[in-house]
């Protein structure tokens, strides 16, 4: 199954009708599926006269319906995503973003949402689209601003992917915003899991440098370690809960593989790649 198929199958919003991009739903399009005997009510324009002549009875061509998607993406490229043990979280985010954008076909719109900008990439697809859409926006990242921009600028029914560590994503205001986005769009969230989620590699005295500034010199004993592990799990659980309640698909993204996280969010173990063209 491809991401596009998964998107279409799992759509929660009314579709935007278009052409050239078949869904898995049978309807009015060009993607041939099968021939079957005519049944009253079939569109007469879909009768295959050659097949009818061969079979001696009316045959109808069954095709898949066409839908144009709007694929929007919010990618946190702030300092907090530049950390990682073997690989940076932003690298995993770019994996997921590439897979997301590769699912766009010719009539689909690809949109990169920044804090106060929307970068349309209509007509681009595949790796080229991913490369263009991944270009830095030259604006300091702010998740809430990005979500507000998406709310204001995206057409209803868009598929929105938001990849972030979701720090500072708590509070009633952002909860309302997430719920509103969940109602209007087909939303997917990837939570960039902290590289030190499972294994905090520090004992005793430690100096920490914040990826976005700040410094902390602290003694880390068993008590501090236990508090940290509890807090980091609790935070992730809170975010997942908030996103679930807002009707977002949720995946947890490790630094090792962003694409797998995206697949996980759609509940499928292996995602196929879209055919180029």
């Amino acid at each position: 199954m491809t991401l596009r198929e998964a998107l279409l199958r799992g759509r929660r919003r009314p579709r935007a009708w278009g052409s050239g991009s078949p869904t898995t739903y049978r309807g009015d399009g060009y993607e041939f599926v099968e021939l079957r005997s005519y049944v009253p009510g079939d569109d007469v324009r879909r009768i295959d006269w050659a097949a009818t002549a061969r079979a001696g009875a009316l045959q109808t061509r069954i095709v898949l319906e066409d839908v144009a998607l709007t694929l929007a993406a919010i990618v946190d490229d702030s300092g907090s995503m530049q950390v990682g043990r073997r690989r940076r979280l932003i690298d995993a985010a770019e994996d997921a973003l590439a897979l997301w954008l590769e699912s766009a076909l010719s009539d689909d719109r690809v949109i990169r949402v920044g804090p106060d900008v929307v970068v349309p990439r209509q007509g681009l697809r595949g790796r080229h689209a991913a490369r263009v859409a991944r270009a830095p926006l030259d604006v300091a990242f702010d998740l809430r601003s990005c979500l507000e921009t998406a709310q204001a600028a995206l057409p209803r029914g868009s598929a929105l992917l938001a990849i972030s560590d979701w720090h500072d994503a708590e509070g009633p205001r952002i909860t309302r915003l997430l719920a509103e986005l969940g109602r209007r769009f087909d939303c997917t969230a990837l939570i960039a899991r902290d590289p030190w989620y499972d294994d905090f590699p520090v004992r005793g005295f430690a100096t920490f440098r914040g990826a976005q500034g700040g410094r902390l010199v602290a003694y880390v004993g068993a008590r501090e370690r236990a508090r940290y592990l509890h807090a980091v799990r609790e935070r992730e659980a809170r975010i997942v809960r908030a996103l679930d309640e807002a009707r977002w698909r949720v995946g947890v993204m490790h630094e090792s593989d962003g694409a797998a996280a995206l697949a996980g969010a759609f509940g499928i173990p292996h995602l196929g790649r879209e055919r180029a063209g």
Binding site: D194, A206, F208, G210, A218
Partner: protein, 306 residues
């Protein structure tokens, strides 16, 4: 505090500053190797680190270095030390008014108990003697360094009876004192001098010869009478304070037996100790060094150098 070599403070402090600068530099280098965390505010809130530990370590390191710097300058401190040539006479009033029971069991017994506390608190080596006085003064125990013997000798203090010859007691104590040394007289009395030598003149003489008189007034102001007489058991506090002032000593008042014991115990320490400027360079250096070693051990134990 004074210093034998105050000029050494400057290079020592410069050295301490250099060490601190090196520590700061090491910390800066360490900062470059610091673990990068995505969100330091969240980490701080999650860890709730005990910030006092690194602060305490830093403060202890600085204190240890400063102590070593101070030790290098030869510090001297005026501290109380036991005197080697200390002499103290306890003059106990055994006049009739000491039978009064306003201080339980009576003033005389309370004075003996207090004298025992004084002897017990006196530093080892201090010569202690006991004089009892009423109408006349007599030596109950000559000056001795055997404090146990002096305590036993208290049993020989006669029962209260007679007049109050404070001046005679002071004169006898002065005559029995060696001509030099750290000398003092402790006077325990409840009454007014009413016979013998003028105590005020004796106090002046003692003061001139650097023999302080510590006077202790015993008894309450209840207006009780001396048992068996119609005379009030009063204390001439003004006179006792004057004797103490003239001689360079001090006056204290005790209304009860426990308070009297406390006063005498404190006097026991006072008369057998003297303030001397001592060279404290070695203990300061040892303390400073031990502080730094302890900090290092604590830091190793806490994983600072892993």
């Amino acid at each position: 505090m004074s210093f034998d070599h105050p000029w050494r403070l400057l290079p020592a402090l410069l050295l301490a500053a250099a060490v601190l600068w090196l520590l700061q530099r090491a910390q800066r280098r360490e900062r470059a190797d610091a673990l990068t965390y995505s969100n330091i505010e969240f980490l701080t809130a999650a860890l709730q680190p005990r910030a006092w530990i690194p602060r305490a370590m830093r403060a202890a390191t600085v204190a240890g270095i400063l102590l070593l710097a101070i030790a290098a300058a030869g510090p001297r401190m005026v501290l109380p030390v036991p005197v080697h040539d200390g002499y103290a006479f306890i003059c106990i009033d055994t006049s009739g008014s000491m039978q009064s029971t306003d201080v339980l069991p009576n003033r005389g017994q309370a004075a003996k108990a207090a004298a025992r506390a004084f002897i017990q608190q006196a530093a080892t080596g201090t010569h202690v003697g006991i004089i009892a006085f009423s109408t006349a003064a007599s030596i109950v125990q000559p000056l001795t360094t055997d404090h146990a013997q002096a305590i036993r000798a208290l049993a020989g203090v006669p029962e209260p009876n007679g007049a109050t010859a404070i001046g005679d007691a002071l004169r006898l104590a002065a005559q029995s004192m060696p001509p030099t040394g750290h000398r003092a007289i402790v006077l325990i009395t409840d009454g007014v001098n009413n016979t013998g030598t003028d105590p005020a003149a004796m106090a002046q003489w003692l003061g001139a010869h650097h023999i302080p008189v510590y006077t202790v007034g015993i008894g309450t102001n209840s207006g009780s009478l001396i048992p068996g007489t119609m005379q009030p058991a009063t204390i001439d506090e003004g006179a006792l304070r004057a004797y103490a002032n003239e001689s360079g000593g001090a006056y204290a008042r005790a209304d009860g037996a426990a308070q009297l014991e406390r006063v005498l115990a404190r006097l026991g320490r006072v008369v057998s100790l003297e303030n001397k400027p001592l060279d404290v360079g070695l203990p300061v250096a040892l303390f400073g060094g031990a502080t730094i070693v302890l900090v290092l051990l604590a830091l190793i134990g806490l994983g600072r150098f892993q």
